[in-house]
Structure formats: C-alpha cells, structure tokens
Amino acid sequence: MKKIRIGAGQGFYGDSILPAIETAKRGDVQYLCFDSLAELTLAILQKDRQRDRAKGYARDISVTMRELLPFVKEKGIKILTNAGGMNPLGAQQEILRIAGELGIKGLKVAVVTGDDVIDQLQAWEQQGISLAHMEDRREVEAIRSRIVFANAYLGAGPVVEALQQGADVIITGRTTDSALFLAPLIYEFGWGQEDWNRLAQGILMGHLMECSGQATGGNYSGDWQSVEDLDSIGFPVAEIREDGEFFLTKTEGTGGLVSVDTVKEQLLYEIHDPSAYMTPDVVLDLTGVQLQDAGVNRVHVTGARGTKRPDTLKVVMGYSDGWLGQAIWGYSWPDALAKAKAADRIIRNQIQRMNLQYIEVQTDYLGYNSLHGPLAREPAEEPNEVYLRMAVRTGSKEDAAKLGRLVPPLMLSGPPAMGGFLGMMKPRELLGMWSCLVPRAIVESGVQVNVLEV
C-alpha cells in the first residue's frame, strides 16, 4: 500500500527552525508543513503590513527558505506553509528573491490568496449575511469600526490545486493549520471530497503535528523529567498510508519523546466537543481514536471518524481593544511579599492622584500568584524574593506608557531592598478576537492559486 512521510516544520511564528532542518536532512520525508499562524499572529502581521506594504508575512520565512530551499531542490521535498499571513504575495516575492540569491532554478512557488476578507465585510452585510459572534451571538456593531483584520479559515482545496500545478513551495495566508497537512494526502492518495473517514484521519494527523514539539515531549504534563534532550527536540514525522492509518514518530537521534502519553495530550489540545471538531474539510470525531505504542518513539494512530464538512467557514477578526502598559520589579527578603504589596499601594495612590485614566489596574506577584491568580496559595515559607508586575488597560498608548515612569523613584523613596526593575516596557496594543461563520461559497469564490517559477 502506498505511503508517504510528512514532517512538521514549525508550530508558530517564532518557532525553532533547527528541527525542520534535521527532518529535511535525515527524516526521509516528502513534505514539510509549517503552521505559522496562531489566532493572534495575524494581528502582529497586520501591524507589519501597515508600516510597510511589502511586509505582513512571517518574517522568519527568509531564514526558513534559505535553509530549506536547497533540500527542496536536491531531495524534492515540498514545503507547505501558511507563513504568508497578511501578505502571501509578498512572501512569494521574498521566496523567489532568496531562490535567486541561492542560484536555484526551476522552482515553482505557489501562493493561495482569498482568505483576507476585510474588504468584503460591508458587501456581505448588505447581502444580509450575519457577522454575529459565533458563540454568544453578539452583533458586530460593537466592534465594527475597530476591526483591523478579518480572515477566513480556508481548507485543503486550494493547496491541493497548487500541488496539482506542480508547486514545490506553497505559501498561504489563513489556511487552517491541519489542512496544510491534509492537502498532500488528498493529492498523493486521490482521496475523494466525501471520503470522510480518511479525511478525518488526515486532519487528525495534521492536528497532532501542527503544534510541533507538543507531540514529541514538549509541554508534557506527565513524567516530564524523564523526557531526554529537549535541547535537540525532534518535531513530529508522520508515516501515513493510503487508507489513512498512520504512525507518529520523529527523526532518529533527536531529543524528546513520542509515546502514547505525550501524543494523547496533543490529541485534545484546543478541541472543544471531541465528537465534532469542525474543520473546513471534515467534521472530526475523536471518540473512537486508538493510540498504540509501536516501538521506541513510534505511536500507531487509528480510528478517527468523519462526517460531512460544514457549509460555513469560520472568519476570525481582530479589533482594537485598548492598550496595555506594564512594569516589573522585585523586592528582597525579609518581608518581600509585604514590600511588594506596599509598592503596589503606593503606585495605585499615585495613579489616582495624577488622575491617570486607566480602565483597569492589575497586580500580580511573580513566584506567588501571577499564573494561578485567585487559585494561588500563600507561600508556606517566606520567599527569598518577590517580583510584582503591574498592568494597566487604557485607551491610549501615551497613557499606557506613563505607568512605567512611576516605578524608578521607588528605588530611593519606596520600601527597602528593591531590584530587578526591567526598565520601561513598550505599551502593547490589545486586540479582541471576533469569530463568526459565513457561507463557504462567498469566501471560496474569491480564492485563487497562482504559481510563479524561477
């Protein structure tokens, strides 16, 4: 039975490139798929594009391509990535430029566009298409004037088309993470559009791979201390057969661990109803999935079931939601927590006295409650040191920046033994996320695949 091997290249914008290089060199894969886009990544890329129209794609694509294009040429490995972000055409130009620099000829670079739907929202609403929030049905009025990006989650279709056109590298915007991994299977095995169970296995494979190291021993809550060599972690490699059964493994000699226990944590990651995980290509049912140990760093995965794909696609929009200003500094034993709390009171009083317009002020004590919030318990023993982090939410960048300036005077005029002031932190724009469902046909009619060759 025909089978292929696919490697996971990246789990987010900023992930390490080294495991993908190892997989390209020694992983015996025909495809490397990169997921660059978390929900909020498009917001970052949109800001890049506002500053420079040529930008707006994941900038690490330059390094990625410089390292990996030689393998595309030598070994015929195909690279699929949604690193195009808010500007897939710009990313295509960058890849062609790098191919030119490397002296690579005969390379086909495909780009998928049409996921960026911000310019169509108005027309859609005029046609009576609702953009109400998909979870709480809030109407979009509340945020409409503050929308900064709006992108539809596309499925595997356009990526398959690009493969059929002979593309070596495929760059997309907001293509669904797992669909990038499914596309080569549809192309290689000729799976039908309604072959729901096999499509489900393919999406499951993609889902296990799309967060890179999270399936190979990273962020593992079990016996994490027994996982070896995270410094040289291998990213997942799937060996998948025509009938959809697959093994999850990693490149020999790399660090990390592929076991039933590490893989199952990824299986339900960011899943809501395990019997109905909605994707553009199939609705995935995980309740019959079996994971079996199949040797060292090798897990056999079967049993995903699929049902008909939805008639809608998800559109995620980001909208401006104020500014975050923050400051971090610390206090030494003795009475470290009491000193930090005193500093908090001083700053809050000064905020009031200066009449700074903050919508919300929040204080966390690092090492005590910054990650568990109200669930944290007071430390049993007096800690050696306590850091506090104050954060404010406000309407303007300028006001957000004013918080940090209140802190340095505390060194001479506050509680004793202060250290570790991290300096003025740049205010960060807060972005709300808005998800809605729209008929898939109105999105798909605008999707295009273009191939350029150097």
């Binding site: 593992y220 016996d223 199952k264 990651y269 809501h272 990650l371 669930l375």
Partner: protein
Amino acid sequence: MALVQLRQVAQARSGDKGNTVNIAVFASDASAYEVLIREVTAERVKAHFDGLVSGEVTRYLVPNLHAMNFVCRGALSGGGSASMRMDNLGKCYAASLMRLEIEAGDSVNLSKS
C-alpha cells in the same frame, strides 16, 4: 477512602481559543478514570476556577483515551491578545486543575505519586 490530589492520578494539558480554555484530563488507568468521572464534574471544575472562569464549564467524556475534556467559557478575561493576564493563553489552567482534591477509592493506583 483517601483524599488525593488530581496530579497523583492524572495528566492534563490546556489551551485557548478566543476567550475559551479547554482542559483535557487523562486518567492514569481505567480505575482512576471511574473515580475521575464520579469526582471531577463540570460543577466542581467551575467552582475550582472561581475568579478565573466567568462562563459555563462543559465536560465531554472520551472513554477510549480515559479522558475528559473541560471547556471553560469566559476563561481569559477577553482572550489571548486582549487579556492583561500573565497566563494569557491559558496554558497553566491544566496545572491549576491538578491541585483539585478528590476522594479516591482504595482500588486506585497512585503510582504517579
């Protein structure tokens, strides 16, 4: 009957989507899973996260993996990029849940402890 912390009989991972966090909890074996189904209800999880989760908590069972998936709405004070929280992506919720104390029957294997 022994009172044990969830961390002794389960592993877990959490993640975010918008303002929702899901926490997938995996029992160490079939007998621990029975106890978890009985003890770790959606209501208990909602109460445990008082102050962090403002919306409803739904529990889904995935028996083939000895797993339960808790979907917590209104969990991130607006969601990853809008939240002022330090754990703005909800990655520590699984760890927070592992503090939960449950009544374990005598048959439960506490090998993880």
